[in-house]
């Protein structure tokens, strides 16, 4: 898709096919692919990170550690870049976000430490499973719930409840299920640190489903949390030499430009068909990651 020559070559001859690609070509193609990833990620709300790592690993034969480092940095860029827009809408809840960050950041460090000690194949397989699960989550019909009326004791103590704008004015909401949500957030952090993704899907699951926070509040708060979570493992990755400037430069610039473009188009575009298409792509990438991981090709 991004580079048919390399892709076909990869299937026919296995690794070692980018011998002919020089830095200009590599940068251009990776940048273009990242642009598309960021664009689709913003349009579908799934984030660009989930496609960047498989793209680099499968299409460009970049070592998965470098791929994860580059992806993680691009995740920070999209999260921080969109913060102003999301906040202005008045949906995100900083207290919920900050409280849950104590779980995701510790999880992210744990994930990064795990990544240092497990094999590339294992990471590829876990990545594939997460891709399949994200596709499942995005295609599933979301269980709608009205705003929770009564906060649990713990949520009350932490003053997690808030209000958000609806068509009928400000709507108050309460929060429950704090321990379950906190646990899921730790898991989201581990996945983020291990795989270099934002794991927004798991974060939204934790808030929307476990803690019964309104969906709009969950997604925007998740976006704010993604950058902070990613920063927690990015430091470790940088120190371990996972962040290669030659790869990260086109990935970061591409994803950032793509996601800004996507956010602009989002208002007008019909995303349902795109969302479906993107889910199919993610399933295909997931299967390929698992296959390559199990057969030890990555």
């Amino acid at each position: 898709m991004y580079n048919p020559y390399t892709f076909r070559d990869a299937i026919e001859h296995g690794a070692n096919c980018e011998r002919a690609m020089n830095v200009w070509e590599f940068t251009g193609l990776v940048g273009l692919g990242s642009l598309l990833a960021g664009f689709l990620g913003a349009l579908t709300g799934l984030g660009g990170g989930v496609v960047v790592v498989p793209m680099l690993a499968l299409l460009f034969h970049v070592d998965i550690k470098y791929a994860i480092g580059a992806s993680l940095v691009s995740v920070i860029a999209t999260s921080s870049g969109a913060a102003a827009a999301y906040v202005r809408e008045g949906y995100s809840n900083i207290r919920i976000g900050m409280f849950l960050e104590t779980a995701t950041t510790v999880g992210a460090i744990a994930g990064a430490v795990i990544a240092l000690h497990v094999s590339t194949s294992a990471i590829a397989v876990v990545f594939g499973l997460v891709l399949l699960y994200s596709a499942y989550l995005s295609s599933r019909h979301r269980l709608e719930h009205g705003p929770q009326l009564q906060s649990s004791k713990l949520a009350e103590k932490l003053r997690l409840g808030g209000s958000y704008p609806t068509s009928e004015g400000m709507q108050r909401y309460a929060v429950t299920g704090v321990p379950a949500g906190y646990g899921l957030m730790f898991l989201a952090g581990v996945l983020s640190g291990l795989l270099g993704i934002g794991s927004g899907a798991v974060k939204v699951l934790a808030m929307d489903q476990a803690m019964k926070i309104p969906f709009k509040v969950s997604t925007t708060t998740s976006n704010f949390m993604i950058g902070v979570t990613a920063a927690a493992s990015a430091g470790l990755y940088l120190n371990r030499g996972y962040i290669a400037p030659g790869i990260t430069m086109p990935v970061m610039l591409g994803v950032l430009a793509g996601s800004m473009l996507g956010a602009r188009v989002l208002v007008k575009a019909k995303v349902k068909a795109l969302r479906y298409l993107f889910a199919v792509v993610i399933v295909a990438l997931g299967i390929e990651m698992i296959f390559n991981g199990v057969t030890g090709r990555l």
């Binding site: 995100s92 940088l238 400037p245």
Partner: protein
Amino acid sequence: MSDKTASTPAAGSWNDQRIEVIIGTLLRTGVILAAAVILFGGVLYLTRHGREVPSYNAFHGEPESLKNPVEVFHGVLGMSARAIIQLGLLLLIATPVARVAFSAAAFGIERDWMYVVITLIVLVILLYSLFASS
């Protein structure tokens, strides 16, 4: 954050919102600045190394000069293209850290001590990951 003067209880959440908008704008500025530095370093990198053949299919780990923030600064002074890109990436990684620090200050202004503590915990975790292993 200096425009946080009104402290009527009803205005609390609205001021929350307002501080957040300011923080959000600062963050976006940080990202744009980081992107500009990375772009500049990238152009330099391409003009110097564009014809070389990259090899990323085996993990070697980046050299010390690109892992350690202090070394990166030295590289930037020497106009090393890779070090300039890395400086941009450091700036980018710093934006969420700055946002957490700003939030701690904002909660402090609101005298919400519980959330000052929670936010500082997050900040310490972030700083630990940035500096502990270097």
